[in-house]
Amino acid sequence: MPTVSFAPQLQRHVSCPTQIVSAASLGEALTAAFLAAPLMQSYVLDDQGHVRKHVAVFVNNEMIASRRDLSLAVGEKDSIIVIQALSGG
């Protein structure tokens, strides 16, 4: 089962522990992780369920290619990490 973790910059707003979830896709894994902290969903996904443009999602060491299509298959040993994209001043 994949692991989902959120960066400290997100945890600063909403506490959400690293979790091992039962999921076959990236979207399912995020949805499962949000159950532990429902407010986290709006920090990561926009109104349309797309990954926010200043948020980056990595599966293992690779950033996902699409913010809209979260059907990417994930497996037992995969690690999903959600971070903020650095920007602003």
């Binding site: 709006s42 920090y43 109104d47 349309q48 926010r52 948020v55």
Partner: protein
Amino acid sequence: MSTLLIASRKGLFTADHHSADGKWQITGHHFHGEPVSQVLADPRDGTWYAALRLGHFGVKLRRSADRGATWVEIPAPAFPPKPTEGEWADDATPWTVDLVWSLAAGGAHEPKTLWAGCMPAGLFRSQDGGDSWQLIDSLWLDARRKGWFGGGNDHPGLHSICVDPNNSQRLTIAISCGGVWKSEDAGKSWGLFGNGMHAPYMPPEVEEDPNTQDGHSLSMCAAHPEVMWVQHHAGAYRSVDGGVNFTRLTPPLPSDFGFVIVADPVNPLRAWVAPALADTFRYAPDGAMCVMRTDDGGKTWQAFRNGLPQTHAYDLVYRHGLALAPDRNTMAMASTTGNAWTSVDAGENWVSLGAQLPPVAAVAWA
């Protein structure tokens, strides 16, 4: 004495009046470093609401029942899924809230009702004190929305919401650039009004089209809700029929460009503006700040400068950057340069808060 709330680019500040030295002082800083786009102190129960626009993580709402001692996060307005077929499938406007631009309390007899105006220009209502929000479909799905556009922003935004104190079913709203709209049934249906406004920068055939007028702010006289004032992109306007028709006012000098207009809640002839030089020169005319007030319904204006910087002042006061306290004499003003001032005599004399704040989006009295 009221507390002043200052919504800034890097947090919400509070300021209080210390009678010992006669000055206002910053007394609190909430949401350190986070952009706060709007703040509401609900006059019905004293609850504070703060709208955040987090750079990475979107729009958030926080609520405080104890005047800022503690805050809780509550759901923010959000659009429903964008249709994949039909009239709105190719809508060029994103169905994602980018900014909560206006917050308003509902009527006295509906204590949990709140209104939120957003960018893109969706209107949302909460009937449970902000625990949930519903998009007002009747406005969002009005085909005339396709004619709106952003004025200085990528998308149109809903910045002003006036709830008639005598009839909370009657709403009047203003959109940049989308005109003035009214509902008589709490948002079930809408009419486009704001007749009489003129946008000289538009193609000649549509200069007077109500659907694309850029009222920068709309303010209502609470005791005479038929009297409404608009600081338009091109001049100041007043309505005496609840926003249906507007009359261009005598241009206040040195400029009738600006963003904010504030109506006196009792005197239908009094209002204030904070002029800027022009749309292409968004700072105080000649680098000298003033607040202008009319006491005769916009026939004449007085400029008040005492206490405001008169040399090399490049401040701009946004559309929510000037506020009148309930006593109708105490005022606050703050700018994009992070300066803030207060007045105790209806804007005639000003005192600097003496703080170098971040750019200010809104001020309010609590």
